[in-house]
Amino acid sequence: MTEESMDVDVSMPTNAVEEYLRMERMPHIWCPGCGIGSTVNCFAHALEASGLDLKKVAVVSGIGCTGRVAGYLKLDSFHTTHGRAIPFATGLKLANPELKVVVYSGDGDLTAIGGNHFIHAARRNVDMTVILINNFIYGMTGGQVAPTTPVGATASTTPYGNFEEAFNLPYLAESCGAVYVARWTAFHVRHAAKSIKDALLKKGFSFVEILAPCPTLYSRRNKLGDGLDQMKFYAANSEIQNDADTKTVGLTFQGKIVVGKFVDKDKPTYLDSMNNFYIQKFGDRYAPYKG
């Protein structure tokens, strides 16, 4: 663990985040040992620490296990189509720049079917926070191979093992233009909450990847034990390397996991660029766009 200062309080009792949840929708659909719920807990604490006006926070999800997050958060929440949370969020943000727009979805949703939208939103530096829960697999549909499945891991559609190289998501996000990039695991709840808070308060396209156990469809098939075993694995094999070169943080099957805050830089957002450009172009004829 680092000595990095933690201004996010995660010592509250577990029901402390209830005010952020639609409790009438409990119990949730996630399996025992699934890491998604832990990340929602981190998100709620991050929201609290951020001081954001919750009325102005909107969460957009795609489809899949993590896609269900939007439905459990007591915020304006949108459960869209598979892979398309980011373009929906783009419309939401550009139409009302006062909103803090968060995309909360899974690895398959955001980087396979939604990969094109991910890279373009990062390129445009649309002001949004993307929280990607990476469980290395398509959970909702029964454990199929994902663009994040490590070589050598087994999935229902790679019954002999996966031979396709996986995405290194922090590297992808940084190279496409993200201004904030961090990776943690569901074990690193304090760090993850802190990173989410920082990402929420960052102007521009911020990206937080959180690795999470999928005991039902990833760990079991790969004989990695249950959710707790995966958490122990994360604890033993993660190495915090803040500011690491994202080229070097690719993941391998049950190999070392480099976590940390990798990128934190400033760049004009899409709307800032647009307004600045048009003010130069049109002068007083242009009223800066505010929504």
Binding site: R84, P87, G91, L92
Partner: protein, 386 residues
């Protein structure tokens, strides 16, 4: 209410149907357009891109049509009126999001300037081959509205109407141009803003407590709120209850989907618009829409000169279809002749309405040009033989 004068380009202009569509959107209050370049629709977004910066609008060229067709829905939930514009291949890509808009009752406008397909087909040449896709393209059951202008003037007028209907019924409205109407240049009169009727968004005005996002009123349409207003809305493409929460049962499906279909079906007579010419007393009625309704005119005039009693019914609303009117006429006429630039789409709806009571003659055309009026004339003459 009346249109916001900001941006309404009142006056008489010589512009094409694509440009007129862009002006119609602006007059209707649209301030968010997302699109992806595709012939023959691109001129719509080009004009929007030029006009929007100085009237407070946002145009964004997205990475594809899939993104465009959902970015507009995000914008709507943030409070904007929004539109996307495309042609056949892009329209195919947008189908899932037409379903999402129908399911989540997101008022928005999709413009399809039709070209010949299937696939890449004839990108620069006309067709009317997307009419059934407009009705049934997304999976599952839902009601939809589709309008078919036949001139640049009507492209302006019906774009305004498309926005109004989308707000009134909280439904995606499809504006089905064809390449000819899109690229045809004619006189277009844009009225003063105070002469343009605008149907405002049906925002909830009651108490905050107990508000239900999907509790419909008498007309089957629920009121709406927007993100940021503190309602903590949940909007999902899953089957949902009146709170908007997912419910995975046949009973919830029946309740929701039945209403999505009924809100258009039961309001059809109020939505439907068509124009008739000499239909009363006609032996043959030509049913047409879009550019084909203009190509049919010399054929109809020739047949009238031949001594035949020929009426003309022009669809302005393709969906919902004026089934009742066609049923009434089917008891009186000897035949319907249905020319369209496809191998038979709206003709199926005429046949369904006629239900065997009288003859229905399609005049098919694979696309790439308009009909030769002689073919329509020949069909009118032959429809009365034997």
């Amino acid at each position: 209410m009346k249109a916001d004068p900001k941006g309404v380009m009142t006056g008489a202009f010589f512009i094409d149907g694509d440009h007129a569509c862009a002006e119609g959107a602006i007059a209707a209050g649209c301030r968010f357009v997302a699109g992806y370049p595709i012939t023959p629709s691109t001129e719509v977004v080009e004009r929007i891109a030029e006009r929007f910066p100085l009237i407070g609008g946002i145009f964004i060229q997205m990475e594809d049509e899939i993104a465009s067709s959902i970015a507009i829905q995000g914008a709507v939930w943030a409070g904007k009126k929004a539109m996307t514009v495309t042609s056949g291949p892009g329209f195919s890509l947008m189908m899932e999001h037409i379903g999402l808009a129908a399911m989540t009752e997101t008022p928005c406008v999709f413009v399809d300037v039709q070209r010949a397909g299937p696939s890449t087909g004839l990108p620069t040449l006309p067709a009317q081959g997307d009419m059934m896709q407009a009705r049934w393209g997304s999976h599952g059951d839902y009601g939809i509205i589709a309008l078919c202008p036949n001139s640049p003037q009507e492209s302006f007028d019906l774009t305004v109407k498309a926005f109004n209907l989308s707000e009134q019924y909280r439904v995606p409205v499809l504006l089905m141009l064809d390449e000819c109407v899109g690229h045809m240049t004619e006189r277009v009169v844009i009225p003063p803003a105070d002469q343009i009727e605008i149907y405002p968004r049906r925002y909830w005005e009651g108490p905050r407590e107990g508000f239900l996002l999907y509790k419909a009123g008498q007309d089957g349409v629920p009121p709406i709120v927007k993100a940021g207003d503190g309602y903590n809305v949940h909007v999902t493409g899953l089957t949902h209850d009146e709170r908007g929460y997912p419910v995975m049962t046949a009973a919830a499906q029946e309740k929701l989907v039945h209403r999505l279909v009924d809100k258009i079906r039961l309001n059809a007579e109020a939505i439907i618009e068509f124009k008739e010419d000499q239909v009363d007393g006609a032996e043959v009625v030509v049913v047409s829409f879009g550019i084909t309704s203009r190509v049919a005119i010399p054929a109809i005039e020739q047949a009238r000169q031949d001594g035949l009693k020929v009426g003309h019914l022009r669809l302005i609303t393709a969906w919902p279809f004026p089934k009742k009117r066609i049923q009434e006429l089917s008891a009186k006429v000897k035949a319907f002749v249905v020319p369209e630039i496809n191998y038979g789409q709206m003709v199926h709806e005429v046949e369904r309405s006629v239900s065997g009571k009288t003859r229905v003659v399609p005049v098919s055309h694979g696309g790439g040009s308009v009909h030769n009026p002689k073919d329509i004339h020949g069909a009118i003459v032959n429809s009365l033989k034997g």
